[in-house]
Amino acid sequence: MNTLKILSLVLLALLFSCDSEEPEPEFESDLVEITSVTENGLTVTILATQSLYVGYNSITAKVEDDNGNLVGGDISVLPLMDMTTMVHSCPLEVSGSALSEGEYQFNTVFVMPSGEMGSWSLDFTINDAEVSVPVEVSSPELSRLVSFTSAMDESTKYFVAYIDPKDPQVGQNDLEIAVYKKQTMMEWPAVDNLEFELEPWMVSMDHGSPNNLAPVHTDDGHYKGTVNFTMTGDWQLRLTMMEDGQVCGTPYFDLYFQ
């Protein structure tokens, strides 16, 4: 490259235009306060990256006593939907049962929105004291949870929750979904024996995208793969869900991005 460098210096030292690289704005995904309840001498604050919605929510509960001190000790949580005639729960992922510096992180998949049908609460038991936090769960503009009855077995109802990409971009994206089934009103176990086929689809032009990797099971009902988008627009993430080689459903998610 020396020749080229000398040449360019001699010829055109002044003509190099600046290719200034604009720094990317840094994105801070701070938690925001969703709601807060004080009961039995404890204040529980619910934090999440966005308001709670039907689908996979990562939630942080912050527990303080009357003096504003962070509380330690044991904790457990149970999401409950009270529909007056009946009560049901939803899928829940917890790691341990201890408060760490007053905080407790868990994931839950709300399976329906709050409304006239009923209302959600997160019922905490903190060091034997009970705190029930009513929460508002809304339907997102784009569905992030698909539920259906298995095509193979009418008694099994699956819930497929969309996790990633949260902010889809043109190019390669990590894909993550989680699948649960409703066993009883209160039991919503993860399903780990499924296989998927994946086809991202550009609906308005009827084409797909190449080199996708269908999600495969990692752990606790989570399935990870790779999804590619060749352009912006409204993509549909089309999945074919199979159990023992037989199709049990074809859930899809709409993704709009610009």
Partner: protein, 683 residues
């Protein structure tokens, strides 16, 4: 500058003999650049000079005069050149069956790159014949002192202002009309000179409606309108040096491309060049130092179309900045050595936004040229050596270093879909070398044998293009950042015989390509464009062979009457042994040329054979043979205050319904057209 240098140096050395010093000879040459007036065309097989020079012959060829109206028509007439049509505007020159991907295009030595991903704007579309001083076409791997290509080079030399102290003001007005498209062209060329300064201003306006084909059908979306402005300023501080500034602005609007799914809203180019010429600079004799910059903005448009599957915006732009130093290192009785060192950098950007028909769906956006940067620096030497009185060797050698990368994050993410990266800088070295032996068999005959080897980098589209739809074969094309350079070994043999009453020139060539870059279908990918057949990757496909030749025969039949026969043919075979796409079949043209008392009459017939060797991979259809008859008449009247010239031509007299094999789409070429031209030069 090569054609000028070669032509004028030859002319001058003949005229002036050996009595002069080099400096005087140079001053005469510099004078000649800025003295001669009037337009003429000198055409040989390997070189074409359009010139103001009064020294050159064949000035009064009326077909050529008529064709001087636009660059497309002009180039169409050249040996070894065919023009690919996408519409009635901005045809793409094809050199011996090779498209603009493979050769180097430049304006006055300034590299310029079209800004349309669909090749709607080859650089030739930004140049008007009224501004041309010369047109230099080289083929294959011949060194052309402009850049490395495997298919040759085209350089449009720009006209310089005239220094004329006795008559400082000069002007030319041209106006013409073409019946087939109801097209009106006007141009104005003004020249003013002072003692040390001279300025030339020109303006061209052309407007054409839809043309009518040979079946009498109006070809919709074939209209266009364009304006072109040029300013050239020359300053001669002393007799042996000159500072020249050129500015060219070209602005085309509402251009229809009937063969393509889209038209063009506008295509705007601006070119700036500043050069310094002097008789000596350090070790260089007669050097030219030049700096230049040009940019093109291009925007496709489909809003005029009746029905589109989906409305799209497809703007693109290129920016090129560069410079060079060229000159003679050694000039002796037996040998001469000239050199050129050049550098340029170019930037390509093109994007596509598609608007779904359902209003609730989001627009879709892609970067089709993802902010591609390339910089190239080269050094070239040209050596001429007389081995013996009848044997001359001329050789060229060029080394080019270049790198390319993309700077768009969005583009990088697009590439990640295919597990590729464009941000890594890719460097490459190109070598281009040729050796030519000219043997003066007799006083009348020269035999030329040459061996040349050339390499080229992939084009922006071939390296980084993203889902570029090719209307011709119906596939979306993907660029491959890791493409290797393409190579061409070029063998050529030719002869030129000039007798008292005839001139015969023939050339036969063979191109042996390796790593030939071509689209290869990938069945695993689904097309993006609605209605496309699938996706092709640009790949290095292997060894490709091309053979062909040209013939030019001029005869003086009677005093004032001559005839000219032209023939050209190309054969191409791809790496799988199948025909290459877009191969021009055998084409012959024969014209008679009669000159009497300022009248010039030229009937002409053109015949093209059918092309049945079609490329299946390219979904090519065979093309029928066609026959055309044309007639050109012109009258020149010398006045005290200048010259008036009137021309009339009838093209495609029989209203033949035809298309050339390499044309895009199934659009037919224009039917019968009566063209009228009026030109008035004041001085």
């Amino acid at each position: 500058m090569k054609p000028l240098i070669t032509v004028f140096i030859i002319v001058m050395s003949i005229q002036l003999g050996y009595g002069q010093s080099e400096k005087e000879r140079y001053i005469v040459w510099l004078d000649s650049m800025t003295n001669d007036q009037y337009i003429g065309i000198e055409m040989e097989l390997d070189q074409v000079v359009i010139s103001d020079s009064a020294h050159l012959a064949h000035l009064n060829n009326p077909m050529m005069q008529m064709n001087m109206r636009c660059t497309d028509q002009l180039m169409h007439c050249l040996p070894g050149v065919n023009m690919i049509r996408r519409g009635n505007f901005a045809n793409e020159p094809m050199l011996r069956g090779l498209t603009s991907d493979r050769y180097v295009m430049s304006v006055d030595g300034m590299r310029i790159y079209g800004a349309c991903t669909d090749k709607m704007d080859p650089a030739s579309s930004y140049v008007e014949p009224i501004n041309l001083k010369s047109l230099d076409v080289s083929f294959g791997s011949e060194g052309n002192m402009v850049g490395c290509g495997t298919g040759g080079g085209v350089n449009f030399g720009l006209k310089k202002p005239v220094f004329n102290t006795s008559n400082p003001f000069g002007a030319t007005i041209n106006t013409s009309y073409s019946s087939v498209s109801n097209g009106f062209d006007q141009s104005l060329d003004l020249n003013y000179s002072l003692n040390k300064w001279a300025i030339r201003l020109s303006g061209v306006h052309r407007k054409s409606e839809n043309y009518t084909d040979g079946n009498g059908e109006i070809v919709r979306y074939s209209q266009f309108e364009k304006t072109n402005y040029t300013t050239s300023l020359n300053y001669r501080p002393n007799s042996s040096s000159m500072l020249a500034f050129d500015f060219v602005a070209d602005d085309a609007r509402n251009v229809g491309y009937p063969a393509l799914p889209m038209d063009v809203a506008f295509a705007k180019a601006k070119m700036f060049g500043l050069s310094y010429l002097t008789d000596r600079l350090w070790i260089l004799k007669e050097p030219e130092v030049k700096l230049y910059h040009n940019f093109i903005n291009h925007e496709m448009d489909d809003t005029q179309r009746d029905s589109v599957a989906m409305h799209m915006d497809m703007p693109g732009n290129t920016r090129t900045t560069g410079g060079f130093v060229s000159g003679i290192l050694h000039h002796g009785q037996k040998s001469s050595l000239k050199m050129k060192a050049d550098f340029h950098k170019v930037f390509w950007h093109a994007e596509m936004t598609m608007y779904p028909n359902e209003s609730d769906q989001l627009p879709m956006y892609m970067l089709t040229w993802p902010d591609i940067h390339r910089a190239i620096g080269g050094v070239e030497f040209g050596h001429q050596y007389s081995i013996a009185p009848n044997h001359q060797l001329s050789s060229t050698a060029r080394v080019e270093l270049g790198y390319s990368y993309i700077s768009s994050d969005f583009g990088e993410r697009q590439l990640s879909v295919f597990g590729k990266t464009g941000m890594d800088v890719r460097r490459g070295l190109l070598l281009s070398t040729s050796i030519k032996h000219i043997w003066g068999v007799s006083e009348m005959t020269n035999v030329t044998t040459s061996v040349a080897y050339g390499e080229r980098f992939p084009t922006a589209s071939e390296q980084f293009g993203f889902y570029l739809f090719n209307q011709q074969d119906g596939y979306d094309y993907l660029g491959d950042p890791d493409l290797a350079k393409e190579k061409n070994l070029h063998l050529e043999i030719g002869q030129a015989t000039r007798g008292q009453n005839f001139q015969l020139e023939t050339a036969a060539f063979a191109y042996f390509f390796s790593n030939y870059i071509m689209g290869v279908y990938d069945s695993t990918l689904s097309s993006m464009t609605i209605g496309a057949r699938g996706v092709k990757w640009y790949r290095n496909t292997g060894n490709t062979l091309m053979l062909g030749g040209e013939l030019l025969l001029r005869n003086k039949l009677l005093p004032g009457m001559s005839s000219e026969l032209n023939a050209k043919y190309v054969y191409g075979k791809d790496a799988d042994g199948e025909p290459l796409p877009q191969m021009p079949p055998l084409k012959l043209s024969y014209s008679l040329h009669q000159q009497v008392k300022g009248w010039s009459i030229q009937p002409e017939v053109v015949w093209s054979s059918a092309q049945r060797r079609t490329s299946e991979k390219f979904n090519e259809q065979s093309t029928d043979s066609f026959f055309l008859a044309n007639l050109g008449i012109s009258k020149t009247i010398e006045l005290k205050s200048g010259v008036v010239r009137a021309g009339l031509s009838v093209n495609n007299i029989t209203n033949e319904s035809y298309r050339e094999h390499f044309d895009i789409g199934s659009i037919l070429r224009p039917g019968r057209s009566i063209d009228v031209l009026l030109s008035w030069r004041f001085n």
